[in-house]
């Protein structure tokens, strides 16, 4: 066998980011405390530079013997992951400083997590996918545990680690079964092997079940959602913000690479599994969210229900459906950032301010941020004219196209349940009087970005079509 040096060019953005993460780590080690604001700036700058590299080199390519893929879907998801991470950095600066966790490690771990996500997004081979997933997960475990003096954070990190490791094990087990039947780890070759071979093979089906279960764990879909509320609540809000937004995009990519890139010809089988996961997530997430008094916990259950909704697009098993899901998850990530940003805005040195009651009387105290939060919540509820509605519309449209009418009707009816708890926040802000004075935290840059974040959900309406079209063409390339 002849040895060839693979083409490194498609992977330059990842390589660059890895170098920058190392640079931030080293600089922080030698310069210490004085350097913190520089680490902040440097991390954002390297993410921006990576985005520029991706845009500049956008292409469709395969390298490292099919291990590493570059395509439009991957590029868009990577850009979104990095933009979300930049927003996370900006939203969480003051919060981190107040809690003495504004450290170099925070930025390094976040950058390696981003790297892990980029690897996952670009994986053309099950091993590389697993590698990216582990890089992401390990960075997240440490990020959650960064507040060593907090019992809740330690507990959350422990829980996430144990369940995450279990899920990884299940994923590997499923992959090994797929390997046994197809004889390869390469997703494109698996695709070919299943198309020509026997897709009703029992071992293969079992492998699929394990893979779907692992994905369910990572996404936090019912019945594999147990870790979500505890981890969301226990983590420092700055980490929850990160955890709840960017990794969802990577999980979407993982779903696409595995189920569509590799196991597309078994869609009849995974469709059935995903229907159950999706509908239970939507139902359970929405109903339990009503009972929450803690904002982070409520948003965790809301995340479960949104994951269910986004799975609906995938299970319609059409390129339009995948595109709808991608659009949905992009919009969802954006809304989540704003919502957790609002919690960060209310928090201060002494208090996390993560109870729903903290929002009481917001309208009298800060009408602008009451409006910002209202836009975010109404968009989450999927009520027009906000963009959250267009995302739901695209998914339902895909379901109706695939003639899954009853699924569409059930999903839509649970939206009413969802509307109830989002509106309850609006009720607290507008109809109740403030309990104690509401102080706003955060710097100028955060306030501006948060306002833009919310207003974009309504002012972006004329450009929705453009965004959906990009998602459509990205997914058309995939299949």
């Amino acid at each position: 066998m002849e040895f060839q040096i693979p083409d490194f060019a498609p992977a330059y953005p990842e390589i660059f980011l890895l170098c920058m993460a190392g640079a931030v780590l080293l600089l922080d080690l030698f310069l210490g405390k004085r350097f913190r604001n520089l680490a902040y700036g440097l991390s954002i700058a390297s993410l921006l530079a990576t985005i520029a590299m991706i845009i500049g080199s956008s292409q469709q390519a395969t390298t490292f013997n099919g291990m590493f893929l570059r395509d439009l879907m991957g590029d868009i998801l990577k850009i979104a992951v990095m933009l979300f991470t930049i927003m996370v950095f900006i939203y969480s600066r003051i919060y981190q400083q107040d809690r003495h966790i504004f450290k170099g490690e925070y930025f390094v771990l976040a950058l390696t997590a981003v790297l892990g996500m980029m690897v996952m997004i670009s994986a053309g081979n099950m091993l590389l996918l697993y590698l990216g997933l582990e890089l992401l997960s390990l960075s997240l475990y440490s990020l959650i545990a960064m507040r060593r003096d907090s019992l809740h954070a330690t507990e959350a990190a422990m829980k996430y680690f144990i369940l995450g490791a279990l899920a990884s094990g299940i994923l590997l087990y499923g992959m090994s079964m797929i390997y046994v039947t197809t004889g390869t780890l390469d997703l494109a070759q698996i695709h070919a092997a299943i198309r020509t071979g026997d897709s009703a093979n029992l071992v293969l089906s079992l492998g699929l079940v394990f893979v779907v279960v692992a994905i369910g764990f990572k996404l936090g879909a019912v019945p594999f959602h147990m870790w979500v509320p505890d981890v969301y609540q226990g983590s420092p809000t700055s980490v929850t913000l990160f955890l709840g937004s960017a990794p969802k995009l990577a999980a979407f990519a993982m779903l696409m690479r595995l189920l569509v890139g590799g196991l597309e010809n078994m869609s009849g089988q995974w469709q059935q599994m995903l229907i159950i996961l999706a509908l239970f997530s939507i139902g359970f997430g929405n109903i339990v969210a009503i009972a929450q008094t803690n904002m982070k916990r409520m948003l965790a259950y809301s995340a479960i229900s949104h994951v269910g909704f986004f799975l609906l697009g995938v299970l319609s098993a059409t390129p339009d459906g995948y595109a709808a899901s991608m659009f949905y998850i992009l919009v969802y990530g954006f809304m989540t950032l704003g919502s957790f940003g609002m919690i960060l805005l209310l928090s201060n040195k002494d208090s996390e301010s993560d109870m729903i009651a903290n929002f009481k009387g917001m309208f009298s105290a800060h009408p602008l941020y009451a409006l910002v939060m209202t836009l975010l919540m109404v968009s989450m509820a999927g009520i027009p004219p906000l963009i959250g509605f267009n995302a739901k519309l695209a998914v339902i449209n895909a379901l109706v196209e695939s003639r899954l009418y009853w699924v569409a009707v059930v999903a839509v009816l649970f939206s009413v349940v969802g509307a109830f708890y989002y509106l309850r926040i609006v009720k607290f802000m507008y109809f109740d009087q403030p309990g104690e004075a509401i102080r706003l935290n955060g710097g100028m840059e955060m306030h501006t970005l948060l306002t833009i974040n919310a207003l974009a959900l309504i002012l972006g309406l004329p450009w929705i079509g453009w965004l959906i079209r990009i998602c459509n063409s990205a997914l058309a390339q995939l299949s």
Binding site: V400, S415, F420, L423, G465, N472
Partner: protein, 493 residues
Amino acid sequence: MFADHLLTVSIWLPILGGILVLLLGSDERKPLVRQLSLGVAVLTFLVTVPLWTGFDRGTAAMQFVEQADWIRPLHIQYFLGVDGFSMPLILLTSFITILVVIAGWRVIRDHLASYMAAFLIMEGLMIGVFAALDAILFYVFWEATLLPMYLIIGIWGGDNRVYAAIKFFLYTLLGSLLMLVAMIYLYYQAGHSFSILDFHAARIGETAQILLFLAFFAAFAVKIPMWPVHTWLPDAHVQAPTGGSVILAAIMLKMGGYGFLRFNLPILPDASHALAGFMIALSLIAVVYIAFVALVQTDMKKLIAYSSISHMGFVTLGFFLFNQQGIEGGMVQMISHGFVSGAMFLCVGVLYDRMHTREISAYGGVGHTMPLFAAFMMLFTMANTGLPGTSGFVGELLVILGAFKTNLWLAVIAATTLVFGAAYSLWLYKRVIFGPVVNENVKKLTDISRREALFLGLLAVFVLGIGLYPGPLLDVMHASIDNLVAQTSLSKL
């Protein structure tokens, strides 16, 4: 340029004006907020007037059409246009909003800018509902009206406002979500188009028609509201501030009636015929039973709210007779009810601002202290009972005529409303206005101010105008009604 985008301007002018009011206004600058809001409302009304004057009465085709791509991958368009059904409703909206702004002039003390902005934004959204010819655009405007109304009830409402606001929101949301699924189904039936006009031409099977009918029915019946899904309305009306009640009764309920005309009847003619008996039965229950419920109310606003439900029963009854008179009567009834119910709620508002109670038993002998007000209220009460010469009469007469054509007994039952309507309206009037002065508070009442006389006077002009000379209004709707009657008689199977 301007003339080609009349509908766009009438939708976005009040919305942008509302945002401007929100940005400039604070509770320290109330005069500015008031004048700016009134300016925007009057300007919007003036923009909508050319819709009436420039309207071609000879055609049922859409007029003032504007069409542009919005979300191209899903074939959703920014598609506007009006016909004989929607145009009068747009004018009603822009007119009533002026009155609401004037009615809130001095009464609202807290967050005045937000109050005015909410009504102006809602005006634009409601005009959007009537002007939209793309189903998704219609849905967006339709649902978007919920949020301002939710805030209006919840912030400026009565003691039990939170319950009423949430009930209003969830009830109407639940109703309209199924409509969304129905629209997406029709999108595929109409060859990948969300245009309502393409929906009209789509061929649909029998079972599908029935299911689609029920989905649209869920949305419109809740909104209009029909018995038995009307229970949100009395709560919302009682808790809402006067302006909110006026908009609810005068315009938001009409969105439901308009929906039946725009979707159910022309898109699903076979299902409409198959379910006509069901619809008529529900309408008659509303007309008769709800009238009895209105009779026993002790709260003035609640009484008028039930009277609204009873009157809207007449509207749906007229629509599902499928003949010229019935549909025409239903439409006239909608417009007339817009003026009359608005006027009745404003009358209650006038009393409430002075006495801070809506209990009928707290009043009596108001006619002694407020003679001018008593005269206005007399007129509107009479219009509410359907007295000849007022707008209320025209619609009811036409619907009863239409019912005679279909079935004698139907007409007889429908006609009882003239008796029951008179009973609860006149009894209300008697208890509030006539008799000796019952207590010190009533004795201290002052008659209406010039501001109040202005809005009640304007409404009186329209109530009498339509009642005495309904010709111009009927002319406008004629061609569209003929077209609709033809559409409903053609099977789509």
